[in-house]
Amino acid sequence: MRVVEPVVELARGLWTTLRMMFDKPVTIQYPEQKKPVKARFRGRHVLNRYENGLEKCIGCALCAAACPADAIFVESSENTDEQRYSPGDRYASTYEINMLRCIYCGFCEDACPTEAIILGDQYELSFTDRRQSIYPKEMLIQPVPAGGKPTPQKTEPGVYTRSVPEMKDPQD
């Protein structure tokens, strides 16, 4: 004979929910408060520059080859010492990512020989038109760092012959 226990069980359920009312709400008031993303978060892509302002991207299109969703389109052109965009022979004259196709897998990041493309911490992407979903190079590239010059730069001949810099193994 269980007379009290079934009622106590129901009351315990009610007590649990009532107790939760006095908990601090976990809500984050999104547009005003933002939760910082994790260090390895894969958000919208950025194209990096060297400290002197030259673009890291050399237009090799390895990212486009690695992309499982075929979201990246790269077209490369020749660098000259008069009009230099990046170290080495070539640079990306067109660089487009279709944000509707991208699945944020980060394979482009892994494929990049110069660490030019990085999936950043930006996650607020919105557009009202399919055409706006294609992000051109101007939207992806980082601003010129302080002390650097904008591209194209006029450079000394024989300095920037190497397209892939000397690199250490990644720490992260």
């Binding site: 004979m1 269980r2 007379v3 226990e5 079934p6 009622v7 129901l10 359920g13 009610l14 649990t16 929910t17 009532l18 939760m20 009312m21 908990d23 601090k24 709400p25 976990v26 809500t27 008031q29």
Partner: protein, 378 residues
């Protein structure tokens, strides 16, 4: 017929309808806020400070939404059904006394619309009409889910109305009248100068059955079978949109308020409270507080318990609530006759004691049945 009297009725009816509509709007906000707090959220807080303009935003949205009528629906009944659902929900509150009589500027004002001498019977009959609206809404939509929802709702409401009616009977017997005002008057005063003479203390099990049956009556969780989202998309209002949907929604929430008001009146002393005889305007405040607490109970139960299976719902209604409430009617009658026969009102204590015993037996039997191994398989 006194012209002033007609004007008074008109104004009172209008004010009550407005209060119910406003109450409905803010009940949705109250429910969303309370549910959110239980789930460690904040709830709506964008429209106006603390979200107080949220109901207005919802109303504007619903008014301007496109209204669809399915091509093969029965147009007349499809349009009529929401009206048929909402009218009883509003009309039912006409007999609820909201407070004692007031004297304003020398004018004697009664805080109820109608003083019907069979008020409880009126409530029962009007509440049953609401079933028609729901079953017609489900049938005329020409949609199998809506139909299922409507039928479930009918079966459930009719089954639980019996237990509901029998729990009313104990309150009626204790008060010796079906008149709502006299039921409230019978609950005024105190035992030992501090325990209010509310019927919830004389008939706790009857109150419990009333509260359970009302959950089924207004199709609230855990008895929200007619609107079981996982099984029936939205139940009887699947095909409704725009203002017609708003009417069905309104009927549901207005019924919650109405049934809480009735519960407060029948079992929780109505507008009685400290100092209400000296300051009559405290009456509406007290009944408002009681309705507020009962509504919180409904929201709280919704946040806690999962929906129960349909066959168990019906089994619980017919095999548990009906016999227990019949036993309660018998016990109440015996208690009243004992008290009258020996002219000693202490003997009324037989009622709560015997009722709790019956409830204990019922709980034990339900528990034993649910623990039987072959029951779970069925």
């Amino acid at each position: 017929m006194n012209f002033l009297l007609v004007l008074e009725w008109l104004i009172k009816g209008f004010v009550l309808a407005l209060v119910l509509l406003g109450g409905f709007a803010y009940l949705t906000l109250y429910e969303r806020k309370a549910l959110a707090r239980i789930q460690s959220r904040i709830g709506p807080n964008r429209a106006g400070p603390w979200g107080i303009l949220q109901p207005i935003a919802d109303a504007v949205k619903l008014i301007f939404k496109e209204e669809l009528t399915p091509a093969k629906a029965d147009k007349l009944i499809f349009t009529l059904a929401p009206v048929l659902t909402v009218v009883p929900a509003v009309v039912i509150t006409a007999v609820v006394p909201w407070g004692p009589s007031l004297d304003i500027f020398g004018y004697h004002l009664n805080l109820y619309i109608a003083n019907v001498n069979v008020g409880v019977l009126y409530i029962m009959s009007v509440a049953s009409i609401a079933v028609y609206g729901i079953v017609l809404a489900g049938w005329s939509s020409n949609n199998k889910y809506a139909m299922m929802g409507g039928l479930r709702s009918t079966a459930q409401m009719i089954s639980y109305e019996i237990a509901l009616g029998l729990s009313f009977v104990s309150a009626v017997m204790l008060a010796g009248s079906m008149n709502m005002l006299e039921i409230v008057a019978a609950q005024s005063g105190y035992w030992f100068h501090f325990i209010p003479k509310w019927f919830v203390l004389l008939q706790p099990v009857g109150t419990g059955i009333f509260l359970i049956a009302t959950l089924a009556e207004v199709n609230r969780a855990p008895f929200d079978m007619p609107e079981a989202e996982q099984e029936l998309t939205a139940g009887y209002h699947t095909e409704y949109s725009g203002m017609k949907f708003a009417l069905l929604f309104m009927a549901e929430y207005t019924k919650m308020i109405a049934i809480s008001a009735i519960g407060a009146t029948l079992f929780f002393g109505g507008f009685n409270g400290p100092f209400v005889d000296r300051f009559p305007w405290l009456g509406p405040v007290y009944i408002f507080i009681k309705i507020f607490i009962l509504l919180f109970g409904m929201i709280w139960v919704r946040a806690t318990f999962p929906r129960i299976r349909y066959d168990r719902l019906m089994a619980f209604g017919w095999k548990v609530l009906l016999p227990v409430s019949l036993a309660l009617v018998f016990i109440t009658a015996v208690g009243i006759i004992l008290a009258q026969h020996f002219d000693n009102s202490v003997l009324l204590a037989v009622i709560p004691v015997a009722s709790l015993l019956v409830a204990g037996v019922a709980v034990a039997m339900v528990d034993r049945t649910l623990r039987r191994k072959d029951y779970a398989r069925r």
